[in-house]
Amino acid sequence: MSLSTDDIIFWEYGFVKLNATIVLTWGIMFVMAVGARLITRHLSSGIHISRWQNMLEAIVSGILQQIKEIGVQKPEKYISFIGTLFLFIAFAALCTIIPGYEPPTGSLSTTAALALSVFVAVPLFGIGEKGLGGYLKSYLEPTFIMLPFNIISEITRTLALAIRLFGNMMSGAMILSILLVISPFIFPVLMILLGLLVGMVQAYIFGILATVFVAAATQAGGH
């Protein structure tokens, strides 16, 4: 039994390899992009809209609302990044209802990649908002003595994000695997439901944390 989808390798050539994580991610990407494209191809700005458009509008405006509530000044600017984080993780978790599916977010590589992207994106957003000098100055606040601690905090929170997501996703999948071995078929269904819930909560937490970091980096005070 494999712990991670990274270990399922379809094709390998030296350093380059094609494992289940990447393939599943492509699948998810494909479904999401094509689905969005199909729905948004015939958008209506009138009063009568399709159910799918209504669903997408509810999701987008909900995300926008959440970002705004946390205190980000221009939510439209960051919705692409934060919204995609949330939607990708949520969709990956949602797909666990498909038999034989393993969420790619259960791979530490994926969560590390997502955490890294937050790690890179947050300073970039901060610089974009306040300029390079303004952003770097925020590391010296409240005093220059705090500089090493600020840097450590920046790195650790990225690590924490990655580990948190990985732990939750992987544990869900792992518990399911173990229970499948030792118990009858009814019990794992309940665990799948629990896994769904946990996946959604993780997607929410990941998105919220990323938003908080973005808000902290882009706010005028820099705190």
């Binding site: 390899k17 992009a33 969005a36 209506s44 700005s45 439209e76 919705i79 590589s109 990649a113 992207s117």
Partner: protein
């Protein structure tokens, strides 16, 4: 090994591609549609507000117009009423005036008729009275009315008070002793002589007396009588005094009758 770095890099790239795809196909179109709808709704609300404001303005305008019309109508009705009232009063006044004029004319006609009647009656009375007197005198005293008149005149001349006599004499002196005696009937030569004698005896022995007979009241003469005139003096006896009294009584009776009739 839990972390495979190639997978990490691949997933990073995958994630970035996904971000771009979703931005392209999901967020931008949806946000644009929502913004457009928002704009559309705002525009419609603004239009509705504008229309409402316009409708309210028109409503108030029409209300004002309607109240103005009502006011005008009220004014016109009142004016018409006032005019009708004035016209009624004018017509009433005209009718009253006509009535008054008619009454006046009627009264004038009646007055003139009464005067005519009066004169007629007096004339007849006069005739009757003289006729009667003449007859009575002829029957009782074997004398005519004219004789009696002349006799009365002579007696009166002779019975003149001294003051009157002196004044008459003075007047006679002024007019070169010429006197005129006028009578409503022709005087007989005897009567003329009697009068002349009396004049000469009472006033002036050398006085010249002329006689003249008047044809009737139209000539300003006496109804029945004799008068003596000289320059600025006049002495007369006439039945007119009696007849005047009679006339007054007749007039009073007629008046009474007329008042009874109206």
């Amino acid at each position: 090994m839990l972390i495979d770095w190639f997978t990490v890099i691949a997933q990073l790239i995958n994630f970035l591609i996904l971000v771009w795809l979703l931005k392209r196909f999901l967020y931008q179109p949806i946000l644009r549609a929502m913004d457009e709808r928002q704009k559309h709704i705002t525009e419609q609300l603004e239009q509705a507000d504008a229309q409402k404001a316009r409708a309210e303005a028109e409503e108030s305008h029409f209300q004002q117009m309607s109240s103005e019309l009502a006011e005008q109508r009220e004014t016109l009705i009142q004016k018409a009423r006032a005019e009708a009232e004035a016209e009624r009063r004018r017509l009433m006044e005209a009718a009253r005036e006509d009535h008054r004029q008619l009454r006046l004319r009627l009264r004038q006609t009646l007055e003139s008729e009464r005067a005519n009647l009066n004169q007629d009656i007096i004339r007849r009375f006069q005739g009757e009275a003289f006729g009667l007197a003449r007859k009575v005198l002829a029957d009782l005293a074997d004398s005519t009315l004219e004789e009696q008149m002349a006799a009365v005149f002579v007696r009166r001349l002779e019975g003149l008070p001294d003051v009157e006599r002196k004044r008459l004499a003075a007047a006679l002196q002024e007019s070169n002793h010429s006197l005129l005696v006028r009578s409503s009937f022709p005087l007989s030569p005897e009567q003329q002589k009697n009068i002349e004698t009396a004049v000469k005896r009472v006033l002036a022995p050398g006085g010249q007396v002329a006689f003249k007979t008047l044809s009737g009241p139209a000539e300003g003469g006496q109804a029945g009588g004799i008068e003596l005139t000289t320059d600025g003096y006049k002495l007369a006896w006439s039945a007119t005094d009696y007849l005047d009294t009679l006339e007054k009584r007749v007039a009073a009776i007629l008046e009474e009758e007329m008042d009874k009739a109206y």
